[in-house]
C-alpha cells in the first residue's frame, strides 16, 4: 500500500498540464552537447496523473493503475458481424485441446498456433489458430500403393506412441493421415513427371522427427523397407511450416472476416488465456493473410518498452542475482512512429528525489520494486522489449533476482497468463557472426528486440559499449559510472540516488533514440515481410531461415518438395570470387569503376541456376536432352534452360528485385517521412535478401547446400570480369581513336577499375558510361554493367585493399572510400586508425604525398619520444573467458589486475583496455600488457617498438609502398626521425626497487654536488637560472591549460557543477588524458618548486 500512495503522490507532483503539449525542440540530433539530460527530460511534455481504477473482468495480475500506462479499451466486437484486423508480430505454437467445430484432429492433444498482434487502434490481440497439423514426406517404396496406406498409418502410429518415453498428455493418436501424393524433388531436374511420395501427417510437431527416425531405423511394415526412403521436409519448423502453408509472412496483417471467428470473454469456453485485450479463435483455413503491399504495408502503433536496470554490486564481483539487489529500473515506452516516449519512469529502491519530466516510483523493499515492475510490464503490455544487452543481462538478472527473493508472479512477463518467462541458453552459429552463446527468455507474444544484437549484426564498430555506440551514431558522450561507485550512490541519500536514476533513465532512453536513428524496427519488420519469417527469428537466427522460408513458399506453389539434408560438414571447396591481379600504385588520374548491379542474383537469373534446373551426372542422357536445352557453366555443371523449366531461385530473385524496384520508385514519390522510412527499409531488406540466396546454396552446414549452384555462380562471375577486361582493353585503344590505351588495373567480385588514361573527371565519367553500355550488351539479360563512380586519385594497395576519393559527379567528391585498410579494425590501437586516416586524407584529398610521409614520420618520432597520448595506444579486448588455450594479453592482465585490486578489476564479459609496455628482451607479448591507468600512474614505459613494428609498420608500408616503392621501409621506419628516443623510468617493477633517487640538476641533469642537493641547479647552471626556470614554467603552463580544459569538460558533460566527476567511461577520448595531465602537472609543479617559491 505504501508503494501505491507513492504512485499517487508523484502523480500529482508531475501532472496537471492543461496546456497543449509541447514537443521539445531541443531534441534534434546534435543540438544538445551538454545542456544535460536533466533539462532534456524536463522539457518533455508533462505527464498525466495516475488514477487507480481497476479494470473489471480481468484476472488479478492485470491491473489497470494508470490511464497512461494501459492501452485504450478495445471496441465492442461481435464476431458474427464484425471483422477483426490486426498486424501479427509473433507466431508460435502450443499443444492444446481441440476446439469443437475446428478442423484437424478431434482427439487431444493437438497443436494450436498462436498469433499475437496489434490492431491499428492499438489494441492487443491474441489469435488461436486451430486445425493445422504437421506433416512430412517420404519417397514411396516401389510397389507401395494406396491400399497400403492404412496399414502404414496404423503401424507407424503404434510405433510412435510406443516410442514415447512417457505419455502424460495421454496421446492416443500420433499419426493422423497417410496418403500418397505426387510431387517433384526440388533437387535436380528429372523432367516434369511427378513421383509418388507418402505424405504422413502427424498430430504433434514432435512426432515428425520421431516418425521419420522410426521409419529409417525400425521395421514398420514387414512388406516394405523404408530404410532407404529419403525423407522430405521433415526438418521444417512447425511455425515456418504453418506460415508457408497459410501464406502468412512476418509482421503482415491478418483479417478475420465476420462469422468465422469466436471471441473469448469472461465466461467463454475455452476461457481467455492471454493478457491481450482481444483473444479469439479461428480455423487455419478461414482467415485472410494480407500480402504486405499497398495499404497493407502500414505499421500498427506498436508499444516499444526500453528499460535498463542498475544493481548494487560488491566490489570486484560482477553482480550476482543471488546476492546483489536490483536498485533501479528505468523505463521508456514509445509508440512506433512517434518521436518521443509517452511513458518515462524509474523504479527505485529507497527514496529518490523527483525528476522533472519523469515519474519516480520509490519502494522501500526490493520485492515490492520487482513486483510492481512486473505489474507495470503487464499493464503497459508492450509488443517489443528493447534495451542494451537486455537479453544477456537485464532480463536474466531480473528473473533470477525475483526467483531468489521469491517475488510471487514476477516471472509472468509474457502475454500468456500461465506461462512463466524462463531463461534458456541458446547457441547461435552463423557465418556472419561466428559462434555466440546467448541467453534467451521467452515472452509469449512480446518480441525481445535487443539493440545490442542489432548493432552486432548490422554494424562493424570498434567498440560496442553503449557509450561508444551513442558517440558513434549520435555524437554524444555518455557519462559512465563504474560499478564500484553505484553502490555508494545507492547508499547515499535521495539526491545521490536521483543522480543514479538520471544515468539509468538515460540508458533506457538511448536505445530508443538509436533504434529510431537507425530505423531498426522498420527495417527489420520489412525484412520479416519480405522473407516471410517472424520478426524475432531475424535476431535469433541466421540468414538461412530467410531463404528457406522463401524457397518453401515458391516450391509449394509449383509442387516441389525439399529433401532433408544432414550436414556432412564436408570441406569441399569451390573456387571463390576472383580478382584481376591488381596493378598496384598511386593513380593521380581518374579511375572509372564499372559495377555489375546485383551480380550474383543476376547471374542466377540469367543462367537459370536453381536446384530444380540442375542436371545431376547422367541425367542429361537419361532424359535424352539435347545440347541446346542445357547450359554448361564455367564450373562444368549442367543446368537446363529456362525454356524447359524456369528455376525457383531465379523466380524468387526476380520477385525480390522487382519488389525492390517498386519500393525504390515508391520511395521517389513518397513525401511522408515515416512512410519513406518504411520504403527505404524495404528496399534495403530486399537487396540483402536477394544477396543471401547465393549464400544459402553455398552454406555447407545449411538446410540444402548445392555447390553446383554456388560454384557456377562464382565461375560465371570470374569469366564475366575477365570478359569485361578484354572488351574494355580491346575497344578503348589509341588504334580505335581514343586518347589512350585503357587498362583494367583491378577487378574484384563485381567491379572493374579502368584507367582510361584521361585527365579529367568529366571525360572519365563519359567513357565509363559508354563502356558500361558496351559491355552490358555482350551479356545475357538481366546482367548489367553499370558505371557508378570515379576514383580520383586512387591508391591501389593490394587485393581488396584500396582507397580513393569517390566521385559520382564531377564538381565535388562524395567521400573518401577505403577498403580493407586499418581504419576500423578493432584489435588495433586508435593510433593506427587515426594515422592511416590522416595519411590517406593527405594523400587523397590534399594530394600531398610528401606531406603524408612527413606526417607519418612525425607521428613515429612522437611515438618513440613518448609524446603520444596514451588513449591512442589502448587496445581493447573482451574478456570472454579466462581459460583460453593460448595465453592472451588481456586475460593475463585481468588476472594481474585482480591481484592488485579486486574491486575495479575487469570481470568476465568486461572489455579490457590495455597498452603494451616495455619489458626485458624476449618477454612474450602477452606478459607485456598493462592497465593504461596503472601505466600512467607509475610512469611505466610504453613499448614503442611494439607499436611501431607490430601495429604501425605493416599498414603504413602498405599504403606508402605504392608511392615510395621499395624504399618505403627505409624512409619511414629507419630514417633520422627514429634516432631520438625518450624512455621514462618506471616507478615499479624491474629495477625500480633498487634505485635510489638522487637529486640532479634540472638544467644539465648532472648529479648535484654536495651542499646543492635541495637546489634546482648545479653551480654550473646557476647563471642560467632565469632561462631554465622559464622553460619549466612554460611546460607547466601548457599542462595547466590542458588540465583546466579537460576537467571542466567532464564537469560540463556530467551536467552538474557541484558534484564530483565520477565518470569512468574509458571509451571517451579524454579519459586517460585527464588522468595523465594530473600526474604530469604534479610532477612539473615539483620541478618548478625546486626553484623555490616566488617570495618577495
Amino acid at each position: 500500500m505504501d508503494a501505491k500512495r507513492k504512485f499517487n503522490g508523484n502523480g500529482v507532483a508531475n501532472g496537471h498540464s492543461k496546456k497543449p503539449s509541447k514537443i521539445s525542440r531541443t531534441y534534434d540530433d546534435d543540438d544538445d552537447m551538454g545542456g544535460g539530460f536533466e533539462s532534456e527530460l524536463a522539457a518533455f511534455e508533462a505527464m498525466d496523473d495516475l488514477d487507480q481504477t481497476q479494470l473489471l473482468g480481468e484476472g488479478p495480475e492485470n491491473q489497470q493503475t494508470s490511464e497512461r500506462w494501459s492501452r485504450a479499451p478495445p471496441p465492442q466486437l461481435n464476431p458474427a458481424e464484425d471483422r477483426l484486423i490486426f498486424q501479427q508480430l509473433d507466431v508460435e505454437n502450443y499443444v492444446g485441446q481441440p476446439l469443437p467445430g475446428m478442423p484437424g484432429a478431434q482427439l487431444g492433444p493437438v497443436p494450436v498456433v498462436r498469433m499475437f498482434g496489434v490492431t491499428m487502434e492499438g489494441n492487443s490481440v491474441c489469435c488461436h489458430v486451430h486445425g493445422f497439423c504437421p506433416y512430412f514426406y517420404i519417397v514411396a517404396p516401389s510397389n507401395f500403393e494406396e491400399r497400403h496406406c492404412a496399414e502404414l498409418h496404423e503401424a507407424l502410429g503404434k510405433k510412435v506412441i510406443a516410442d514415447m518415453r512417457s505419455n502424460k498428455d495421454n496421446v492416443q493418436e500420433a499419426v493422423l493421415a497417410v496418403e500418397l501424393v505426387q510431387r517433384l524433388n526440388i533437387h535436380g531436374y528429372q523432367g516434369d513427371a511427378k513421383q509418388t511420395y507418402i505424405k504422413i501427417t502427424v498430430t504433434l510437431p514432435r512426432f515428425v522427427a520421431a516418425a521419420s527416425r522410426l521409419l529409417k531405423t525400425t521395421i514398420i511394415m514387414s512388406s516394405f523397407d523404408f530404410q532407404d526412403c529419403r525423407a522430405f521436409e521433415n526438418n521444417i519448423d512447425f511455425d515456418i511450416r504453418f506460415m508457408v502453408d497459410t501464406q502468412v509472412v512476418g509482421c503482415n496483417w491478418i483479417e478475420l472476416p465476420p462469422g468465422v471467428w469466436r471471441l473469448r470473454g469472461r465466461n467463454s469456453k475455452p476461457a481467455p488465456e492471454s493478457r491481450c485485450q482481444l483473444e479469439v479463435d479461428v480455423a487455419y483455413d478461414q482467415f485472410i493473410s494480407h500480402e504486405p503491399e499497398g495499404e497493407w504495408s502500414k505499421v500498427a502503433p506498436l508499444r516499444i518498452l526500453s528499460f535498463d536496470i542498475e544493481c548494487a554490486g560488491r566490489k570486484g564481483i560482477f553482480p550476482e542475482a543471488k546476492v546483489d539487489p536490483v536498485i533501479q529500473i528505468a523505463n521508456m515506452v514509445i509508440r512506433q512512429g512517434e518521436t518521443e516516449p509517452f511513458i518515462r519512469n524509474v523504479f527505485t529502491l529507497k527514496e529518490c528525489a523527483p525528476i522533472i519530466g519523469s515519474q519516480v516510483l520509490c519502494f522501500a523493499q526490493e520485492t515490492q520494486l520487482l513486483d510492481k515492475w512486473g505489474a507495470f510490464v503487464r499493464e503497459v503490455d508492450p509488443d517489443i522489449l528493447t534495451g542494451y544487452n537486455i537479453n544477456n543481462f537485464d532480463v536474466p538478472y531480473l528473473l533470477n533476482r525475483a526467483a531468489h527473493l521469491k517475488v510471487k508472479n514476477f516471472e509472468y512477463l509474457g502475454r500468456i497468463k500461465n506461462i512463466r518467462s524462463v531463461i534458456k541458453e541458446q547457441v547461435l552459429q552463423s557465418k556472419q557472426m561466428g559462434r555466440r552463446e546467448n541467453q534467451y527468455v521467452n515472452f509469449e507474444g512480446r518480441v525481445p528486440f535487443d539493440l545490442f544484437f542489432v548493432l552486432l549484426r548490422d554494424y562493424k564498430l570498434r567498440s560496442y559499449t553503449l557509450n561508444a555506440v551513442s558517440y558513434h551514431f549520435l555524437q554524444e558522450q555518455k557519462e559512465d559510472v563504474h560499478h564500484s561507485i553505484i553502490t555508494d550512490l545507492q547508499n547515499g541519500d535521495e539526491q545521490t540516488r536521483r543522480r543514479l536514476a538520471m544515468y539509468c533513465l538515460k540508458d533506457a532512453y538511448l536505445p530508443l533514440r538509436l533504434l529510431g536513428k537507425l530505423m531498426a524496427i522498420v527495417n527489420y519488420m520489412e525484412m520479416a515481410r519480405v522473407t516471410g519469417v517472424p520478426l524475432e527469428s531475424l535476431l535469433t537466427r541466421g540468414q538461412q531461415i530467410k531463404v528457406l522460408s522463401q524457397l518453401l513458399r515458391k516450391a509449394k506453389t509449383r509442387g516441389f518438395i525439399m529433401p532433408s539434408y544432414t550436414s556432412s560438414g564436408s570441406d569441399e571447396q569451390y573456387e571463390g570470387a576472383t580478382v584481376i591481379e591488381p596493378k598496384r600504385g598511386y593513380y593521380a588520374d581518374p579511375i572509372s569503376t564499372l559495377d555489375f548491379a546485383s551480380l550474383y542474383p543476376s547471374i542466377m537469373m540469367a543462367h537459370n541456376l536453381c536446384y530444380t534446373t540442375l542436371l545431376l551426372p547422367g541425367a542429361k542422357d537419361k532424359l535424352g536432352l539435347s545440347d541446346d536445352q542445357v547450359e554448361r557453366t564455367p564450373a562444368n555443371n549442367l543446368f537446363v534452360k529456362a525454356e524447359l523449366r524456369r528455376g525457383l531461385l531465379p523466380e524468387i530473385l526476380e520477385s525480390l528485385l522487382a519488389a525492390r524496384k517498386r519500393a525504390k520508385n515508391d520511395l521517389k514519390v513518397e513525401q511522408d517521412p515515416f512512410k519513406r522510412q518504411v520504403l527505404d527499409g524495404r528496399q534495403l531488406a530486399l537487396k540483402i535478401s536477394a544477396n543471401s540466396v547465393y549464400g544459402f546454396t553455398g552454406a555447407q552446414v545449411g538446410k540444402l547446400p548445392c555447390l553446383e549452384i554456388s560454384g557456377s555462380v562464382t565461375a560465371y562471375g570470374r569469366t564475366m570480369i575477365e570478359l569485361t577486361k578484354n572488351e574494355v582493353e580491346s575497344h578503348y585503344t589509341r588504334a580505335n581513336g581514343y586518347e589512350n590505351d585503357a587498362f583494367v588495373i583491378y577487378g574484384d567480385t563485381d567491379s572493374v577499375m579502368v584507367n582510361f588514361g584521361v585527365k579529367t573527371l568529366e571525360r572519365s565519367m563519359e567513357l565509363g558510361r559508354e563502356a558500361a553500355d558496351l559491355v552490358s550488351s555482350k551479356f545475357v539479360r538481366p546482367i548489367k554493367l553499370e558505371f557508378e563512380k570515379v576514383y580520383y586519385p586512387y591508391l591501389l594497395i593490394n587485393k581488396k585493399r584500396y582507397a580513393g576519393l569517390y566521385f559520382t559527379k564531377p564538381d565535388k567528391y562524395d567521400k573518401m572510400d577505403c577498403k580493407g585498410i586499418e581504419t576500423v579494425r578493432r584489435d588495433n590501437s586508435p593510433l593506427v586508425a587515426n594515422l592511416m586516416n590522416s595519411c590517406l586524407q593527405k594523400l587523397l584529398i590534399e594530394r600531398d604525398p610528401d606531406g603524408a610521409v612527413d606526417y607519418a614520420k612525425q607521428v613515429i618520432a612522437d611515438l618513440l619520444c613518448n609524446r603520444i597520448d596514451i588513449s591512442q595506444l589502448v587496445i581493447t579486448k573482451e574478456l570472454a573467458k579466462t581459460d583460453y588455450a593460448a595465453k592472451q594479453a588481456h586475460v593475463e592482465l585481468a588476472a594481474k589486475m585482480k591481484k592488485r585490486d579486486a574491486g575495479t578489476a575487469p570481470k568476465l564479459g568486461d572489455r579490457v583496455p590495455y597498452v603494451i609496455c616495455a619489458a626485458a628482451k624476449n618477454t612474450p607479448a602477452y606478459q607485456k600488457a598493462e592497465d593504461p591507468l596503472y601505466v600512467l600512474e607509475n610512469s611505466v614505459p610504453i613499448d614503442a617498438n611494439y607499436y611501431l613494428e607490430q601495429q604501425l609498420s605493416k599498414p603504413l608500408l602498405r599504403i606508402f609502398e605504392p608511392i615510395l616503392g621499395d624504399k618505403a621501409e627505409s624512409v619511414l621506419l629507419k630514417g633520422e626521425h627514429t634516432r631520438t628516443r625518450t624512455v621514462v623510468t618506471s616507478k615499479v617493477g624491474g629495477l625500480a626497487g633498487f634505485m635510489t633517487k638522487k637529486a640532479s640538476c634540472i638544467g644539465c641533469k648532472s648529479l648535484m654536488p654536495k651542499g646543492y642537493e635541495d637546489r634546482a641547479l648545479c653551480p654550473h647552471c646557476e647563471p642560467k637560472m632565469s632561462e631554465l626556470y622559464q622553460k619549466e614554467l612554460a611546460a607547466k603552463r601548457g599542462l595547466e591549460e590542458t588540465f583546466s580544459r579537460l576537467w571542466t569538460e567532464c564537469q560540463r558533460c556530467q551536467g552538474s557543477l557541484h558534484e564530483e566527476v565520477i565518470c569512468s567511461n574509458r571509451d571517451c577520448p579524454i579519459f586517460y588524458m585527464r588522468q595523465k595531465v594530473r600526474m604530469d602537472l604534479s610532477t612539473q609543479q615539483g620541478r618548478v618548486q625546486r626553484f623555490g617559491l616566488p617570495e618577495w
Binding site: 507532483a13 508531475n14 591549460e1041
Partner: protein, 432 residues
C-alpha cells in the same frame, strides 16, 4: 628614491598565493564553496530585499511541484553550443581542419540553467533576465515560480554586489599609476614612449610636484608578450614550446626598466595571460631570478594576478584582464567596462573560472569572491581606455578602470586616491 608622499601600503593578496598545490582535485569543490559562501552572504540580502513572505528554498524541496513562489540561490550554468570544447577539438573529424576559435560564442539560443547544491532548473525570464549578459559561474538569488514545463520563471534576480565598503579617508592627493601590456617583445615599436614615461615618472618634465604625489605603480600584466604563441594541435600531447631566446632577452630588458622605475617609485608587477608565469588564475608572482636587477630594490616586487592591496584606506583590486576577456567571449556584453562593472555587481572577480577561464582547483575556498567593495577596481590589457565611477547600493563608490595595453596606446592611467578621479596620460611620440 626621490622624495614622494608617504602612503601606508598593505598587500592583501595572500589568499592568492599558493604555497602547496594539489592537482588531484576537481573543480566541483570550488563551485561548491563558492555557492556555500555566496549563499551565506546573499541570504540576508535576499531577506532584506524581498522580505520573508516568499521562502528561500532548495530545488529538491520543490519536489517537482508547480506554481510555487520561492527564492532559489544557485550557480548559473550557461549552456552554449559553441563553447570551446577539448573533446570537439580532438575528435577525429576535426583533426585536420581545426575549427577556428570563435571570438564570441554567445548566441540567442544559449540556455540558462540554475544549479543549486543538488539540482538544476532551466531559467526563463524574457528580456528582463538579460540572459545574454549572464555567464556560467555567477551565484545569484532568483525569485519566481516553477511551471509545468520544468522552467523556473524568474521575476527578480539579486546579486551579491561585492560586500560592504570601508570609508575612504585618503586626504592627500596621492596618486596611483596603472600600466599594462608592456609587451617587451614588441618594444622596438614604442621604446621612445617608454623612455618618456620613465622621465615623467621621475619628474623630469618639470612635473616634480606631480611626480611627488605618485605613490605607486602597478604593472598589470603582459609585460613580456601580449598575444598567444602559435599553437599546433596534433595527435600528440601538447609539445613543450621551445622557450625562445627572445623571451629571455625581453625579460632582461624588462628587468632594467623595472630597476630604473623602482628607483623612482614603488613598483608592483603582476603577471598577465601571456607572460612566463603559470597559466591558471591566480597567477603567482614572477620568480626573483627573472629580475636580478630590480629584485635588489626593496621598492620593487612582483605580485599575484589578481592583486589586492590597500593604499592608505583605499582598497585597490585588479586583474591583468583575463576575467574580462573571457566574459566578453561568452556573453553579449558590449564593452570591457560593462564586463568589469558586471563582475563587481556579481560580487565575483572571475565567475567564468574554472569553466572557460583556467583556475586553480581550490578545495576549501574561493578567493575570487569580492567580500569587500574596492575603491579602485581595474582590469589590464583591455581594448581601449574606459573608466567610470560606479555608484553601488548604499552609495558605495568604485572607480572602474579598463586599462589599454601600453604597447598599443602608449598610455597609462593615473588615479587620485582621494577623489577617485582618473585620467589617461599618453606618451605617444608620433607627430600628429
Amino acid at each position: 628614491m626621490a622624495k614622494r608622499l608617504s602612503c601606508a601600503y598593505e598587500n592583501l593578496s595572500s589568499s592568492y598565493l599558493l604555497t602547496t598545490t594539489d592537482y588531484q582535485k576537481q573543480f566541483c569543490h570550488l563551485y561548491t564553496h563558492r555557492l556555500a559562501e555566496m549563499t551565506r552572504l546573499l541570504t540576508p540580502l535576499a531577506l532584506k530585499e524581498w522580505g520573508t513572505q516568499v521562502p528561500i528554498m532548495k530545488l529538491c524541496e520543490l519536489r517537482g511541484e508547480q506554481n510555487v513562489q520561492c527564492i532559489i540561490i544557485g550557480t548559473i550554468y550557461k549552456h552554449q553550443a559553441h563553447k570551446p570544447s577539448i573533446l570537439r577539438d580532438i575528435s577525429e573529424e576535426n583533426q585536420l581542419a581545426p575549427q577556428p576559435q570563435r571570438q564570441n560564442y554567445s548566441e540567442p539560443e544559449d540556455k540558462l540553467i540554475l544549479e543549486d547544491e543538488l539540482q538544476r532548473v532551466r531559467l526563463q525570464g524574457g528580456e528582463f533576465l538579460e540572459s545574454h549578459k549572464l555567464a556560467t559561474g555567477i551565484v545569484c538569488a532568483v525569485k519566481g515560480d516553477t511551471d509545468s514545463e520544468g522552467f523556473f520563471n524568474v521575476e527578480k534576480i539579486l546579486f551579491l554586489e561585492s560586500g560592504p565598503q570601508k570609508p575612504l579617508t585618503v586626504k592627500r592627493n596621492s596618486k596611483l599609476i596603472l600600466i599594462s601590456g608592456l609587451d617587451q617583445l614588441q618594444s622596438h615599436n614604442f621604446v621612445d614612449a617608454l623612455n618618456m614615461f620613465q622621465y615623467w615618472l621621475s619628474g623630469c618634465f618639470d612635473n616634480k610636484s606631480e611626480a611627488q604625489s605618485q605613490v605607486r605603480l602597478i604593472v598589470a600584466g603582459n609585460s613580456v608578450r601580449s598575444s598567444a604563441m602559435a599553437h599546433v594541435p596534433t595527435l600528440q600531447v601538447a609539445r613543450h614550446q621551445a622557450n625562445a631566446n627572445d623571451t629571455v632577452q625581453a625579460i632582461s630588458q624588462l628587468d632594467s626598466w623595472f630597476a630604473s622605475w623602482a628607483k623612482a617609485i614603488h613598483v608592483d608587477v603582476m603577471p598577465g595571460a601571456y607572460d612566463p608565469a603559470n597559466f591558471m588564475l591566480p597567477q603567482q608572482p614572477f620568480h626573483k631570478c627573472m629580475f636580478p636587477l630590480a629584485a635588489q630594490l626593496s621598492s620593487f616586487q612582483s605580485v599575484t594576478n589578481p592583486y589586492i592591496c590597500r593604499l592608505d584606506s583605499a582598497l585597490v583590486v585588479g586583474t591583468a584582464g583575463q576575467n574580462i576577456t573571457d566574459l566578453l567571449r561568452s556573453t553579449a556584453l558590449d564593452s570591457s567596462l560593462e564586463a568589469l562593472r558586471c563582475t563587481l555587481k556579481w560580487g565575483h572577480v572571475a565567475p567564468t573560472a574554472p569553466d572557460t577561464l583556467a583556475c586553480y582547483p581550490y578545495i576549501s575556498s574561493d578567493p575570487f569572491i569580492m567580500k569587500e567593495c574596492p575603491h579602485v577596481y581595474f582590469a589590464g590589457n583591455c581594448e581601449k581606455f574606459e573608466t567610470d565611477l560606479h555608484v553601488g547600493s548604499g552609495g558605495k563608490r568604485t572607480r572602474l578602470v579598463c586599462l589599454p595595453s601600453f604597447s598599443k596606446t602608449q598610455s597609462v592611467a593615473v588615479i587620485d586616491l582621494a577623489t577617485l578621479d582618473c585620467r589617461q596620460i599618453k606618451f605617444s611620440v608620433e607627430t600628429e
